[in-house]
Symmetry: C2
C-alpha cells in the first residue's frame, strides 16, 4: 500500500492561512474547465485518508464543491467519532475513525483491504506523519503564486532527516499554478 | 532601483541545513556545462548585496568557486567591518559595510549610484527584510528535489502579509532542479 498526496501550497510553503482558512486559494484566478488533473489523479487512488480538520474544511465548502465522489474516505481523529460533524449530504463511503497510532491504522488498513494499493493522503499533519514513517510514495504539489507570510505550513521541522525526491513531472498553468510530482525516495 | 534574487531551496523551503551548511546542495547531481542560467542572470544585475553570513559561506567555498567575477558587491553587517574576514583573493569590488537600517542603506545606494538599476540580493535574512519592505521585484527560485526536514528557511513568518506573485518562467532540469522566476506584485 502506497501513499500519495495532492495538495496546494503557497510559494512560501503554507497550505492554509493563520486562521486555517483556504480563502487565499479559492480567490486565485480560475481557468474555466481546468481541474488541474485532479479527476485523473483521483481515478488512480483506491481510498483516501484525511485528518478531521481537513475534513471539516472540505465539508465546509458544501455539497457542490465535494470533489471526492463516493471514493472510500477515512476521516481520522484522535478524539471521539461523535466529535466530528458529518453533514447529511456527505456520501456513506466516508467513515470517521478514532486513531491513536497512524502507523497502526495504516498497517491494519493494508491487511484488511488488500485491494487498496494507492491511498490518497490529505491534510498537513497526516501527510507529515506518514512522510516521517516512510509511507508516502509520491507527492503532487501545486505551487500557488502567492506569499502568505504566515499560516499553517505543509512541511514542519518535524521530519528530522533528509529525504531525497525524484522529479517525475512538472507543469505550469496560465494562472501561474505549477503542479509538480515527486517520487519520494525512502531509504530501506 | 529594483531587487532581484536567485537562490536555491529545498522542496520544504530551506536554504541551508540546521548547521548553516550548504553541503546538501553541493552534493546534488551536477550537469556538465550547465550553470542553470546563472551567468546570464549575473549579466543582468549591476551590483549585489548580501549579508555577512552569506558572504562567509560563499567565500568559504574558495577562489575556484567564486561565482561573481568583479561585480560590485556590498557585504552588509550590523557589527564592525573588521569582524568580517575577507580572504586575500576576493576581488577589490567587494566592500564590507556596517548597516543599521537596510532600508536606509538601500535608499543611500540608490541616490549615490544612479547607474545601479538592478540589485542582486542574496541571503535569507537580507531577502526577507527587503521583501517585507517592498524592494524585491523579481525572485528566481531553484527548487532542489530534497526534503531537509529542518534548517534555515528562506521564508519565515516575518512577512506578515500576503504578497501576490506573477509566474514569469519555469524550467525543469534533468537533475530534478526546477528554476522558477516570479514577479513580485508590490501593492502601491
Amino acid at each position: 500500500m502506497k501513499g500519495v498526496t495532492n495538495i496546494a501550497l503557497s510559494v512560501d510553503g503554507f497550505i492554509a492561512d493563520k486562521d486555517g482558512s483556504m480563502e487565499w486559494l479559492n480567490n486565485q484566478p480560475q481557468i474555466p474547465g481546468e481541474d488541474f488533473g485532479f479527476k485523473e489523479f483521483l481515478k488512480g487512488v483506491d481510498c483516501m485518508i484525511m485528518g478531521h480538520k481537513t475534513f471539516d474544511t472540505v465539508a465546509g465548502f458544501g455539497e457542490k464543491l465535494w470533489a471526492y465522489g463516493d471514493k472510500p474516505i477515512y476521516v481520522l481523529t484522535r478524539g471521539a467519532v461523535s466529535n466530528v460533524i458529518v453533514p447529511d449530504w456527505v456520501p456513506r463511503t466516508v467513515t470517521v475513525t478514532t486513531v491513536k497510532s497512524l502507523q497502526k491504522f495504516w498497517l491494519d488498513l493494508e491487511s484488511s483491504h488488500p485491494k487498496f494499493k494507492t491511498v490518497y493522503v490529505d491534510g498537513g499533519r497526516t501527510i507529515q506523519s506518514l512522510l516521517r514513517g516512510g509511507f508516502i510514495d509520491r507527492m503532487t504539489l501545486t505551487r500557488v503564486p502567492i506569499l502568505l507570510g504566515e499560516g499553517i505550513p505543509l512541511f514542519t521541522a518535524s521530519l528530522g532527516h533528509n529525504v531525497n525526491l525524484k522529479l517525475l513531472d512538472t507543469k505550469p498553468f496560465p494562472n501561474g499554478f505549477i503542479i509538480t510530482t515527486y517520487q519520494v525516495i525512502n531509504e530501506i
